[in-house]
Amino acid sequence: MKLVYFAWVRERIGIAEEDVSPPAGVATVRDLLEWLKTRGEEYAEALKYPDAIRVAINQEHVRHDERIAGAREIGLFPPMTGG
């Protein structure tokens, strides 16, 4: 699945997008965030406060308990400040 990062999440992780294949036990958005934190310093720093991270699956907002099975694209970003 493709992960896309925005704003300070993108800056801290250091890349704008990547393709990942999480292991079988990673079922929900929350699981995904925890797994990403194990992938390196920059991930651990960017995702230090998981509750501050907003998530979209296939470009629609989801909660952290949403299941990620079947997701083509998952976006991770800070709370939005549009308008």
Partner: protein, 158 residues
């Protein structure tokens, strides 16, 4: 009731008068047009510009969903949202919402609803460029904006 929804995300400035004409021209049943323009403030002279990042694809889709929700809730004949990205100078327009309806209440409510949801649900992020040349960092989301959403809760208000 059918409602024409127009959503555009662009880096170029836009012309409010053109958007008003586009939304009301040719439809003689429009009696009320409400616009909201969001401008880049200078924050007491400290800010030089804003840089706006967005999630391409999702930004259009999410604003479209918000507009559809507004169109279901109030009898509006047309809704337009234009949101800029990229570098925005002081005094420039960032966002424009235009709502047209027969009677004024629907246009006012739909425009306010759109803005409240845009602020907290549309995937845009603002970064400050300060006058002293430093980066001011990313603008924090405001609790007031989250609170503004709760008043549209159907259980609480008509």
């Amino acid at each position: 009731m059918s409602c024409r929804v127009t959503v555009r995300i662009q880096s170029e400035p836009f012309d409010t008068a053109d958007e008003i004409t586009a939304i009301s021209g040719g439809d003689n049943d429009v009696g009320a047009v409400v616009t909201f323009s969001g401008l880049c403030r200078d924050e007491a002279g400290t800010l030089h510009a804003l840089e706006i990042e967005h999630y391409p694809g999702m930004a259009e889709a999410e604003i479209g969903r918000i507009a559809d929700a507004a169109a279901k809730r109030w009898p509006v004949t047309a809704l337009t949202v234009v949101h800029r990205h990229g570098k925005i100078g002081i005094g420039e327009q960032i966002v424009l919402v235009v709502a047209a309806s027969r009677h004024r209440q629907a246009a006012f409510s739909a425009a306010e609803f759109l803005m409240d949801f845009l602020k907290s649900r549309a995937p845009f992020w603002k970064k400050e460029h300060r006058c002293d040349g430093t980066e001011g960092g990313w603008v924090d989301a405001k609790e007031a904006d989250d609170a503004a959403l709760s008043r549209w809760d159907r259980g609480k208000q008509g």
